[in-house]
Symmetry: C2
């Protein structure tokens, strides 16, 4: 595993409803969790509205910079679902009704006694050359073109599509993570923690303040791609917390 490459990723969440506050995004956190488990580094997220020019620009910026890009939203059957067209435009290829998607969806709607009308057929549109991401929830597939993975915005469907996709993603080099809870706020530990970070450059030490309405405490997270430096940093952090506790008890 040590020799696996570092794989970077970005997410583009698409939808006016995320920017108006009407919908609170749940897909970003889920993707972050899943990529972390896969050892893939999520480096940037953008949220944009349902505007083609804006989607194309963000997508081109992200796909040229990161190894993998994941999008959510805008692949439903209505006029404001413009993600497939925007992705096709970003790649400079035509967008059309995919024959396999049309067949799968026609069968599903026939089984359910529902009309496979023009709006629903819109969900079979994808850029030429794209391959499917299966959708076990509601059939209409997501798709992959180049390094861009296009998924639905409805969380249940996003989760299902990502689950289908995960086995095909490149295996990244897992990031090891250790967490130490400090009963002291960042203000108490900040100076010492800065010194510990400097002493352990192979690790990335993050500190995450918590506030219970009365007092701050801190979760300290040590991340590293190797275990030895992470263990050494963890020992120093434990010693630091014991030191501060001792000082406070003495004071």
């Amino acid at each position: 595993m040590t020799d696996a490459p570092v794989v970077t990723a970005a997410m583009l969440a698409i939808g006016d409803e995320l920017l108006s506050g009407r919908t609170k995004d749940r897909n970003i956190g889920h993707l972050a969790d899943m990529l972390f488990l896969a050892g893939i580094d999520l480096k940037e997220v953008r949220i944009v509205g349902d505007e083609e020019e804006h989607i194309v620009e963000a997508l081109n910026a992200l796909r040229s910079r990161y190894g993998l890009v994941f999008t959510s939203g805008g692949i439903g059957p209505t006029h404001d679902d413009i993600t497939a067209d925007a992705v096709a435009k970003a790649f400079g290829v035509p967008c059309s009704h995919d024959p396999l998607a049309m067949t799968l969806m026609a069968e599903m709607y026939a089984r359910r006694g529902m009309e496979f009308n023009e709006a629903r057929q819109r969900m079979a549109r994808m850029p030429e050359g794209a391959r499917h991401i299966p959708n076990r929830v509601s059939t209409a597939p997501g798709f992959v073109i180049g390094n861009v993975h296009v998924m639905a915005g409805v969380p249940q469907v996003f989760v299902a599509m990502l689950e289908a996709l995960m086995p095909d993603l490149p295996a990244g080099r897992p990031m090891l993570s250790r967490s130490v809870v400090s009963p002291f706020g960042e203000g108490d530990i900040g100076t010492a923690l800065t010194a510990i970070q400097k002493a352990h450059p192979e690790t990335s030490i993050g500190s995450y303040p918590r506030f219970d309405g009365n007092r701050f405490s801190t979760e300290i997270v040590i991340r590293s791609r190797e275990s030895t430096p992470a263990e050494a940093a963890e020992r120093d952090i434990m010693a630091m917390i014991a030191d501060i506790a001792g000082t406070k008890a003495a004071g």
Copy 2:
């Protein structure tokens, strides 16, 4: 109010923890809600990690494009809190300990019998020329420089800072919003809804699928800065839903 300008905004959420999945962001949705109420258009959100170059680049892109920029995160007392320095760098000004912030914080820590140490003093750093955003939760202020509003990542503090800030923001031209719930999925209404959107170009009609584990339904949201076009679109949407219900009942 009709003559108030359209005010655009963007958010930059800063923190490795948001990208690793360790922390699920709650500030984006809150800012979206508050800006919507103020009639300010949130147009884009970016999330980046604790890397100076990346923060500077994203900030410069957003502040040149949108009227207002709001950031969250990275203004605590530890080595990974680099937002103040990154913002100063983006504006090309020095970053130093603000005398008023130092005084306020020294008083607060003295009252609480806590040491105002080097780490805590770090929270008084801000770009030269910045003005404070008050923090009634934990004193250390956020700040405003140019059109950029820098706030804490801890949600309780973010909420308090934004509350303090709201009265000073330019009054945007409120977006009116009406919502109609369709018991039918987007597939049933998509074609007709596209026609309704075309017939009412002064409105922005969004459709938001919901899935209860079995069936899709749709919330249709009509947004407009004037009430007359929104009312007309709403009437057409109600008629469309009645039509589809009638067709289904007849079938």
